[in-house]
Amino acid sequence: MSARTLPLLFLNLGGEMLYILDQRLRAQSIPGEKARKDEWTDVDRKRVMNDIISTMFNRKFMEELFKPQELYSKKALRTVYDRLAHASIMRLNQASMDKLYDLMTMAFKYQVLLCPRPRDILLVTFNHLDAIKDFIYESPAILNQVDETFRQLIETYSCLPDGEFQLIRQTLLIFFQDMHIRVSIFLKDKVQNSNGRFVLPISGPVPWGTEVPGLIRIFNHKGVEVKRTEFTTAGNYVTPQREGSFELYGDRVLKLGTNMYSVSRPVETHVAGSSKNLASRAKENTVPNPLAKEELNFLARLLGGLDIQKPAGGETGFRLNLFTTDEEEEHAAQTRPEDLSYKVINIEATQEPGRRAELSRILGELEVAEPRPGSAEKGEDLLALMDGL
């Protein structure tokens, strides 16, 4: 609904992706001198992070992102992250990419849900950006790119009223609706229940600008306060200490959006296959997708601006596994429930003029004058077509 939602969605999901990749790369890295040719080193890790971050904050890409537009489906958005994750020498199998996307989306869903005020989503975004700047502090050029985006965020969002932020939040919550994937780290920390739903605390500091519930004040017809009464509830709230900073630098106060992973806390997900709410869950893959063509346009525009470096000749990609062993990854790929498959679109939307022309030709061919009756699966056919590229 809010046409200003995409930049916040993209940057926060991207931030979570970087936290996870960084943690997995550290967990799998070998000290430089001991590494074999096919094993990760610290130097490799930094290089991967640099490559992905500089691709993410590419100026042209950001320009497209910040244009007012509606949110696209999870499918379309997943394709962008697929490309991003492969913006360097790193390679991920489908199963690992699925798990990565599950973790990213559940983490940001949690952050959006628990934000005290809708405006605090901006603080969550700043937390992610602060951490991203930490990842690449040694590269002034990329740091500059990130700061540019920071400034654009401040310019676009700082002056929005609370009601508009709530609309953005509502738009995000519609995007995340019915996702209940269980994440190990959330279950351990007791922020998620075993049914996949997040724990919403009824204690702690109230949002900045809200009073602790309990007071009733009565005024007479002249506006003079004549009575005060109190009521009590099960909640146990306190006044907040201070407000987080919305400047380029500052203490955000809010912890949501900071890195919750570390080498000692591996990233696991349980993919909830059968649940009694299966019938009520939005089955995105079986609903015909009339948006397919517009989504492809969006992707072509967005990905066209990405400057993806292909590995130089002779250099093979290094594979990153989001699971503990290769067998686990293989098993996850085979047992992933059908209704949770992302059916990724494989589009080679690169800068190469030849390729771009081909994409345009294909998009042109998709110009259907009249929807044919009974072509409910048309959207699915288009996506299958693109898969074959």
Partner: protein
């Protein structure tokens, strides 16, 4: 019979085909004058889930998606009870859909002016209320309130007036449910900045008064016996004198954004639901000697791990109520303890 009748307990949960979206006032209940059965409706993304007294649950989709446009999102749905008929009204990013009460027939469709390419300011309709015996009022994101003249039967609905007093997106509209005192008006409209407008309905609507907002969104509003009860984004409930615009009560009611208010006209009970997982029942009254407005807390219900997005009384005395929550695929029903 329970003495003060102020206690409630969870009675049952009605299964919905879809979960409810995080939208203001996301529950509508049709209470026929006779005892239950009743009908319920809650919005899920692009569809309205309907639960009737008989038959399987149904869904009504949002209208107005062309081949180039995505399926529009619904913002709200409400049954509007007029003396001659009851209509089910849906608002979305594209416009206003009106159906017969059982959702079977589309009676009227009003398309909003939607720009070719998305602009920074979102376009949508939101805020629905029956008004003045033969009108249905619908708010929009531009602040304009559309007044539709509803014929006693048939599809000849016309746009009778456009009220342009709000400068921010409209959030909710409510009609007087009791007896309006002199010059108090019988309709209140609310917006994102917290501004409330009081109107007198008729062939031409007249603006009687304006209560300026302070930047804090008023997401839900009710009007009863000349008292405006408004729920805000900072968790406060405020009671205003409709005739004078005077603040009569301020309650630090919730720890998070209020999403729904409802009023039971026979008793003056007020229901509030918010993102903090709580639903509260209050009692409004007026002291006959001092004319002071009174509000007292009756009952608190915590819907564990749920952000409440809809709350409605299911009978005019307020003995029963129903609640919806974000991501919840049920309607929770509460009755007397």
């Amino acid at each position: 019979m329970a003495a003060a009748g102020t206690g409630y307990r969870r009675e049952r949960a009605l299964a919905l085909r879809n979960s409810s979206s995080a939208l203001y006032n996301n529950l509508t209940v049709l209470c026929p004058p006779a005892r239950p059965p009743r009908a319920f409706g809650a919005v899920h993304g692009t569809t309205l889930s309907l639960l009737g007294p008989e038959g399987p649950p149904r869904q009504l989709p949002a209208r107005g998606g062309g081949s180039a446009l995505s399926t529009p999102l619904l913002t709200q749905a409400a049954w509007c009870e007029l003396p001659a008929r009851v209509l089910l009204v849906l608002t979305s990013q594209r416009g206003v859909q009106m159906y017969e009460a059982d959702g079977s027939t589309l009676v009227f469709w009003h398309a909003l002016d939607v720009p070719e390419h998305p602009a920074a300011h979102s376009v949508f309709a939101r805020g629905i209320s029956a008004a003045g015996e033969r009108f249905i009022c619908v708010g929009t994101s531009s602040g304009a309130v559309l007044v539709f003249d509803i014929p006693p039967k048939g599809t000849n609905v016309t746009l009778s007036e456009v009220l342009e007093q709000h400068r921010d997106p409209v959030t909710d509209i409510a009609a007087e449910q009791g007896q309006a005192p002199e010059a108090a008006g019988d309709l209140v409209t609310a917006d994102d900045s917290g501004t409330l407008c009081l109107w007198s309905t008729g062939e031409e609507f007249t603006l009687l008064g304006r209560i300026p907002g302070s930047g804090c969104t008023c997401s839900s509003v009710t009007l009863w016996n000349g008292i405006v009860a408004a729920g805000y984004g900072n968790g406060q409930i405020r009671l205003w004198e409709a005739g004078t615009g005077q603040l009569r009560a301020q309650v630090s009611a919730h720890a998070r954004w209020i999403y729904a208010l409802d009023l039971a006209p026979l008793t003056g009970k007020l229901l509030s639901g918010a993102e903090d997982s709580f639903v509260h029942v209050w009692k409004l009254s007026r002291d006959p000697d001092t004319d002071d407005v009174e509000i007292r807390h009756c009952h608190a219900e915590c819907v564990t791990d749920t952000q409440v997005c809809g709350a409605r009384f299911c009978d005019p005395a307020g003995d029963t109520f129903a609640v919806t929550g974000y991501d919840l695929s049920e309607i929770l029903c509460y009755g007397p303890a």
